[in-house]
């Protein structure tokens, strides 16, 4: 099928670029740090895409899942447990559990109430993190060390960490594709388009949405594990609602129609912020209006940009 092959070209190209980046003159320390951050946020945005693009539910509390993953690393670090094979599953499990518990309540609503409830649960997690005095409270917590992998200190190696992030991102991307194409994903997509029709053929959307929300939480927890290791520092600001807004914007900037959009959007926003930050310390004054303009005019996101441009040229 040529259409699906064409759809796979861009992601493959991007992942190949990321794989080659260290050997394309992007191997400097700050650049590698930035790329790792981009891939980690890409993973977080991908997990949010599962909720927004896959299930059609707009969550404004997704940073909480990321933050809970990061705080799981903190809790284990405090107890001197640093083995990634323990820490990463714990981060995934903690975030997934939080997602399942809060999702069980939030999914009783839809639309705007859902947005607000996820926001409120996100705030709840934020305030909890800020009150954890033994993990530094508002000031955050500096890790003793990065996690070890099977006893080895692979994550401290810049290249090793780069490829770990890339492998997990690519794996999660593939997983999202498979998930959405499966029976489960078909019900999820159908419930997004028309919940009444889905019920009329015998499915209650609730358990499907809840499970998707839990899976997304787990993926975000994994991103939190990576983020904690990338920065070796975790603070309540990881869970701030502005972070949730940024993640949501990444998903939309890239294009809601495909999981690739989320990855692309994360990298694009990060680079944009970095670029604007070089121009002025008040870069948000530029980013804000760009964001508004992107929402107003970039309807299909970056992924849809070529089609949109072709469309206007044909009309213009």
């Amino acid at each position: 099928m040529p259409a699906s092959r064409r759809a796979a070209t861009l992601p493959l190209l991007l992942f190949a670029l990321l794989a080659a980046a260290p050997f394309l003159g992007l191997g400097e320390g700050w650049m590698m740090t930035l790329l790792a951050r981009g891939m980690i946020l890409g993973l977080a945005a991908l997990s949010l895409w599962l909720v927004v693009g896959g299930a059609g539910l707009v969550s404004l509390g997704h940073a909480a899942m990321l933050g809970i993953g990061a705080y799981a690393v903190v809790a284990l670090d405090e107890a001197r447990i640093t083995e990634a094979l323990v820490v990463a599953p714990a981060a995934i499990g903690a975030a997934a559990l939080f997602a399942l518990l809060t999702g069980a309540v939030a999914l009783r609503t839809a639309g705007v109430p859902f947005i607000m409830i996820t926001l409120a649960f996100g705030q709840m997690a934020f305030f909890t993190a800020a009150s954890l005095a033994f993990y530094g409270g508002d000031d955050g917590y500096t890790l003793y060390a990065r996690s070890t992998l099977a006893g080895g200190r692979w994550l401290e190696n810049r290249l090793g960490f780069h490829y770990l992030c890339l492998a997990l991102l690519a794996g999660a991307f593939l997983f999202c594709h498979l998930l959405l194409a499966s029976r489960f994903g078909r019900v999820l997509r159908a419930a997004r388009e028309n919940p009444l029709r889905v019920q009329a053929v015998g499915f209650s959307p609730y358990p499907y949405r809840l499970l998707a929300y839990g899976i997304a939480g787990g993926m975000a927890g994994l991103a939190g594990f990576l983020l904690a290791n990338a920065t070796e520092f975790v603070a309540p600001s990881f869970l701030a609602w502005q972070r949730s807004g940024e993640l949501l914007f990444m998903v939309i900037l890239g294009g809601l129609g495909s999981p690739f959009g989320a990855v692309l959007g994360a990298l694009a926003l990060l680079l944009l912020e970095e670029g604007l930050g070089h121009l002025t310390p008040h870069w948000r004054l530029l980013l804000g209006p760009l964001l508004v303009l992107a929402v107003l005019f970039l309807r299909g996101g970056l992924v849809g940009l070529p089609a949109q441009l072709a469309g206007t040229r044909r009309h213009g």
């Binding site: 109430p113 947005i115 609602w241 004054l285």
Partner: protein, 307 residues
């Protein structure tokens, strides 16, 4: 923990609640009538505080500052409507969330640029300085009582407007059944502009009034915004009456929870963990309350929309 302390904190809670109501009222109307979710509403509250403070400093009078802040915030609201919101009415909630998020980033940064990131201090007006003796041995700041009174009066006016005027009838019609507005031949463009401006002004008023009792700083609108969201979700989206009751409830829970829980926890825990657990549960209490209410009534306590 004494009865006096409890009374003081309850008054603080009510006073915070009434400020929340002034913010939430605009939010719930904008949502109820236009189906627009406006994250930037908290920014109006911040602008009210900054404009009130600056205008008071410029004119040398707190009262003049407060009075001038009203048309100033109204103008900001109208400008935002024309520039941004107008283009969002026929878009989905996701687009609205993101565009208004962009507005927040912009205005928070603009405020930092104009006024600096250090908090501004605003003096209590001389007329309302000092306290009143509520009972023997219990003084309560006069200014806080004045906020409570002004807020209640505004709520009363709003109630009159919504329940007893033609414009109010349109608002209620719009909140319960939007297509009806168009069917009635209402100029929705103008109605939306007015509702939006009114909401902005109410939030600005709350901010300007609150300036003397809290620190005026960039981002101050964000936390109020989120509590206002909790208020309108609990109250039932689109319902002004629901917003009023929920605002008082949230104000009380927030203030009493944060102040009393650390003490209460000491009954069962050692002092230090009690303070910690109390503080963290206290700050989560409104969200827990919201989750419980929604688990039982997903559409809030007083849903405005039929069907």
């Amino acid at each position: 923990m004494t009865a006096q302390l409890l009374l003081v904190q309850a008054l603080n809670g009510l006073q915070f609640g009434i400020l929340l109501f002034l913010v939430a009222a605009g939010l719930t109307l904008v949502f109820g009538v236009m189906d627009v979710i406006n994250l930037a509403h908290g920014v109006q509250y911040m602008l009210g505080a900054y404009l009130g403070a600056s205008l008071a400093a410029a004119t040398g009078s707190f009262w003049l500052g407060l009075l001038l802040a009203l048309p100033a915030t109204l103008a900001c609201g109208l400008l935002l409507e024309l520039l941004v919101f107008r283009h969002l009415y026929d878009r989905d909630h996701l687009a609205q969330v993101l565009a208004t998020f962009g507005v927040i980033l912009t205005l928070n940064e603009a405020v930092t640029l104009l006024w600096g990131s250090a908090p501004l201090q605003v003096a209590t007006p001389a007329l309302l300085e000092g306290g009143v003796t509520l009972m023997p041995g219990l003084q309560y700041p006069l200014y806080r009582l004045a906020i409570l009174a002004a807020g209640l009066a505004t709520a009363g006016l709003l109630w009159l407007l919504v329940e007893h005027t033609r414009a109010g009838a349109l608002l209620r019609a719009g909140a319960s059944n939007r297509p009806m507005l168009a069917a009635l031949g209402v100029d929705t463009g103008r109605l939306f502009l007015l509702v939006f401006g009114l909401g902005a002004m109410l939030a600005g008023f709350a901010g300007a009034m609150a300036a003397p009792i809290l620190s005026v700083e960039p981002g101050m609108g964000d936390s109020v915004l989120i509590l206002a969201f909790v208020v309108i979700v609990i109250g039932g989206i689109g319902s002004v009456r629901g917003a009023f009751l929920a605002a008082l409830l949230v104000g009380l829970v927030e203030v009493l929870g944060r102040s009393l829980l650390p003490d209460l926890m000491r009954l069962v825990l050692a002092p230090s963990p009690a303070r910690q657990a109390g503080a963290s549960i206290g700050s989560m209490l409104v969200y827990i309350a919201m989750a419980l209410i929604l688990a039982v009534r997903p559409r809030g306590l007083f849903p405005a929309r039929a069907g």
